[in-house]
Amino acid sequence: MTCEKIREQLTAYLDGELEGDRGTPVRGHLRTCAACRQVATDEAALRDGLRALPPLDPPPSLWAGVQAQLAAAEVRESQRPAWRRALSRWAPLAPRFGMVLGACAAATVLLAWRAHRHEETAAPSLAQQTPATQHTPVAPPPPAPAPPPAPVVAPAGDVSADLAAEPARISGDSAQAATALLATARAEIAAWPADRKQAFEARLSELTAAADAAAEGRPKQRAYRDLIRYLQNAAIREEVALR
C-alpha cells in the first residue's frame, strides 16, 4: 500500500476499527515507513490528549430553554388552519417534485434529439429521397443499464472473507520478516563508512517504496523478495568481492 492509502486508514486503525487482518497491512507498513509511523504517533498523541480532557456537561438552563422553544412551536402549530398544515407537510418534497419534473423534461428533449439525430445519421441518403413530412419510426431508447449489484461482504471467519484477506496477510508476513532483517542489517553495517551507509539507506528507501507501491499478491511478494535479499546481502556480504 502507498503511504497515502495507509494514512487514509490511520484514523480507523487507531480507533481499533480495522479488525483482524484488515489492520495487518497498516501495521506492516508502519513497521517499515518512518514517515507514516511519525504521523500515526502524532495522531495517537492528539487523541490521547483529547481523551484526557474533563467531560463538559451542558448547564441546566440550556435544557430549560430548548424545552420552552419546543412547547411554543407546538402551540403555534395547533393554531394554524388545517389546509396550511397539509401544505406544509408537502412543502419539503417540493424540490424533489421539481427534480422529477425536470428529469422528465430533460428525457423528453433527449428523446426528441435522439430521434432527430437518428434520422440524420442512420440514413442520410434516404433522408434526401424521403419527403420531410414522412418520419421513420423511432425505436424506443435502450433501457438504462441496471446498476451493479452491491457487493456482498462475507462475514468474518467465512472462507470467502479469509480468501479475500490472504494477500494482505502474506504481505504482512513478508513485511514482518523484512523489518526483523532490517534491524539485523543495521547492526551489521554499523561500522560501515558514512558514504556506504548513505548508499544503503538510499537503496533501502527505493526498495521499501517499491514494496509499498506494489499491488497485493505476486507483485508485492516479489517486491518484498527483492527487499529481503538486499537486506540479506547487506548484512552478510558487505562486499561483493568476486565481481
Binding site: 462475507a154 502474506i170 508476513d173 520478516a177
Partner: protein, 306 residues
C-alpha cells in the same frame, strides 16, 4: 476463445458421506489451431499437481470437499482458455447473503492437471501442496505455507514462498528460489544460474552443476555438493548458519573463505589474510572457477573432490 474447440468430458458425481459432501470431476480441454502455451493456476483452497505428458490436450481433475451440499455448491473452479494459448484455472468460494458461514479449513479443492509438456506453468497455492513434474516450459510457482515440489523440469524456474518447504529436483535451467521461513532442498540442478535464499531455513544442495551459484541464508545452515564449472562462480553465504561445501573439481578453482572457523581439509597450504579471508588456489589456469564461502557467526567447511 472462439478459436479454440473445447471438448469437455465432465463426470461429476456428487455424494454425501459421513464426513460431508464431495465431488469429483474430470474435464478435458482440447486445442484447435495452436497448442497450449501456458497454464495459469490459482488454487488457494487446496493442492495442485501438474504433470507434463506428450499430448496436446489439458486434462483437469477436480476434487471438492465441503461439510454439506450447500457449501459444496459455493466452491467454484473456473477455466478460461485464451486465444493466446494461455489457460487460466482458478478456484474460489462464492458468497451470497444466504450463504451459511463456513471456515476455510472445512472446505477443499484439489486439482490434478495433465498438460502438454512444453507449456509454461504459472501456479499459486496457499497452504496446499504444489507439485510440478515432467514439464519443459519452465515455471513460476508461489505458495504461502504450502510445500513446493518440482521434479524433472526444463526451462527457467522461479519459486517463492513464505513458509512452505521447497524441493527442486532435476531442474535443467536457471533457478531462482526464495523462502522466508522454510528450508530449500535442491537436487540435480543444471543451468546457467542458481540463486536460492532462505531467511529462517536451511539450504541443502546435491549434484548442483549450475555455472553461477548464489546461496544465502540468514539463520539456517547451508550444505552444498556441487561441480565447479569452467569460469564459474559459486558464492555461499550465511549470517548465523554453518556453511559446508563439497566441490567436484574438473579445472582450476580459486577459493576464498571466511568464518568463525574455517576448515579447508588438509590438502593444501592455507594462506590466511589480514582481512580474515582465507584464500587458496586449486590447480592453475587463467580463468579459474571462483568460490566464495562465508559465515559471519558460523563455521565454514570446504572439501574438494578431484
Amino acid at each position: 476463445m472462439k478459436t479454440l474447440a473445447i471438448l469437455l468430458v465432465l463426470c461429476a458425481p456428487a455424494f454425501a458421506d459421513p464426513q460431508g459432501s464431495s465431488e469429483h470431476a474430470r474435464l478435458e480441454l482440447a486445442p484447435a489451431g495452436h497448442a497450449f502455451k501456458a497454464l495459469q493456476i490459482e488454487n488457494p483452497l487446496g493442492d495442485v499437481r501438474v504433470e507434463g505428458y506428450d499430448g496436446n490436450a489439458i486434462m483437469i481433475e477436480t476434487h471438492k470437499q465441503a461439510p454439506d451440499d450447500d457449501t459444496l455448491e459455493r466452491l467454484r473452479v473456473s477455466l478460461v482458455p485464451n486465444p493466446d494459448g494461455t489457460v487460466r484455472i482458478t478456484t474460489t468460494a462464492d458468497h451470497s447473503p444466504e450463504s451459511k458461514p463456513v471456515s476455510r479449513s472445512a472446505v477443499r479443492i484439489d486439482l490434478v492437471i495433465r498438460a502438454p509438456r512444453n507449456a509454461h506453468v504459472d501456479a499459486t497455492v496457499s497452504s496446499g501442496k504444489l507439485e510440478v513434474s515432467n514439464m519443459d516450459g519452465g515455471g513460476e510457482l508461489d505458495s504461502a505455507s504450502g510445500a513446493l515440489s518440482v521434479h524433472n523440469l526444463s526451462g527457467e524456474l522461479v519459486t517463492s514462498t513464505v513458509s512452505g518447504p521447497t524441493s527442486l529436483e532435476q531442474v535443467f535451467g536457471s533457478v531462482d528460489a526464495a523462502a522466508i521461513s522454510a528450508d530449500v532442498d535442491l537436487d540435480t540442478i543444471a543451468g546457467e544460474r542458481l540463486i536460492a535464499s532462505a531467511n529462517h531455513g536451511h539450504i541443502a544442495g546435491r549434484r548442483v552443476r549450475s555455472r553461477e551459484v548464489e546461496l544465502t541464508t540468514t539463520e539456517g545452515n547451508i550444505m552444498l555438493e556441487a561441480e565447479a564449472s569452467l569460469r564459474g562462480r559459486l558464492v555461499v553465504s550465511s549470517l548465523r548458519g554453518d556453511v559446508e561445501v563439497h566441490l567436484h573439481r574438473h579445472g582450476a578453482v580459486f577459493l576464498r573463505a571466511r568464518g568463525t572457523k574455517v576448515d579447508l581439509g588438509q590438502q593444501q597450504t592455507v594462506h590466511p589474510q589480514p582481512s580474515g579471508w582465507t584464500e587458496q588456489a586449486f590447480g592453475q589456469a587463467d580463468h579459474p572457477a571462483l568460490v566464495e564461502l562465508r559465515s559471519t557467526y558460523g563455521s565454514v567447511q570446504f572439501t574438494v573432490v578431484e
